[in-house]
Symmetry: C2
Subunit: 134 residues, 2 copies
Amino acid sequence: MPLDPLSSTFAALADPTRRAILARLALGETSVMELAKPFDMSLPAISKHLKVLEHAGLISRGREAQWRPCRIAPASFKQVDGWLGNFRRFWDESFNRLDGLLEEMKAEEAAKAPPRSNRKVRVKKEKQRGRMRG
Amino acid sequence: MPLDPLSSTFAALADPTRRAILARLALGETSVMELAKPFDMSLPAISKHLKVLEHAGLISRGREAQWRPCRIAPASFKQVDGWLGNFRRFWDESFNRLDGLLEEMKAEEAAKAPPRSNRKVRVKKEKQRGRMRG
DNA sequence: CATCTACTTAGCTCATCGGTTAAATAACCT
DNA sequence: AGGTTATTTAACCGATGAGCTAAGTAGATG
C-alpha cells in the first residue's frame, strides 16, 4: 500500500543524493543529464531518484524534445514546513518570546498604518507571514 | 556506514507512527507505555521507533525508576527547518514580496526604537526571526 | 532508414526497515 | 527472595530501497 503524502515526502528527503539534486534545482530548472553530472552514479540511478522526488511532489517535470527538464515543486515543501510548524516553539526562540509577540503586533500595526515613508505600502488583508532576519 | 544526521532525521520522520509519537510528545514528556497506548502494535515495535527517533536526535530520554520518559529534542528539528529554509522562497509568498521585505525592515526598526508603549522592550542584538501571524 | 542523444524500464543483488514473538534486564513492591 | 511493572534485546521474516547492467523507448538528425 502507498504511503501517505507526508511520509513519501520525508522519505524522499532522507537521501543525500536527492537533497543534492534539490539543491541544484533550487538554482533553476535543468535536464537529467545535467543533474546526473556531479554524481558518481549510473544514469538509471538518477532517473529513479527523480521518480521518487516527483512522486513525493518535490519536483515536477516537463517535456522538451528528448529532454525532461526538472524543477522544484512548492507544494510538498510547504506541507513539510507546515508540519514542522507544530514543533516550532521547541526551537525557535522568537516564536516563544513575549518580546517577539509584541514585535509582531507592532509590525502588523505598522503595516496597517503606513508610516512617514512616502512609499505607498500595499498590504494584503490575508495572513502575514513575513520574517525578520537580522 | 551510518547516514549523515540530516538523512537520519528525515528517515525518522518518514513514518506516520513516529510522527504521531512526536505529536504526542509535543504535548509533554511521557513514558513508553503511555506512548504505546494509541497504537495497535507490540511494545518492542514502539521501543524500536523510539530508538530511531532518539538516534535521529528528535527526542531525548531520561530515567526515572523503571520509566524512560521521552521528550522532544529541539536540535534536529531546527536543522530540518534550516535546510528547508534554503527553499522557502519557492512557496512562501511573503518571503519574496518586496512589501514583505520592507515590512520586515520596518518591524526591525520599530523593535530597535521603542514606541510610545511604556513597556521596556529588550531586543537581543542577535538575529531576529520573529514571525507575523494574523 | 540509421544513428545519435536523452532518458526510462526490467531484472537482479544486497542491505535496511517495520513488524512479530520470546526472552532478558531493570527497578520497584511486598 | 519472589513477583509485578516497564522497557529493551535477540532472532527472525517479508517488504522496500538504492545501486548495478542490459535493454528499450522517444525524439532529433545525418
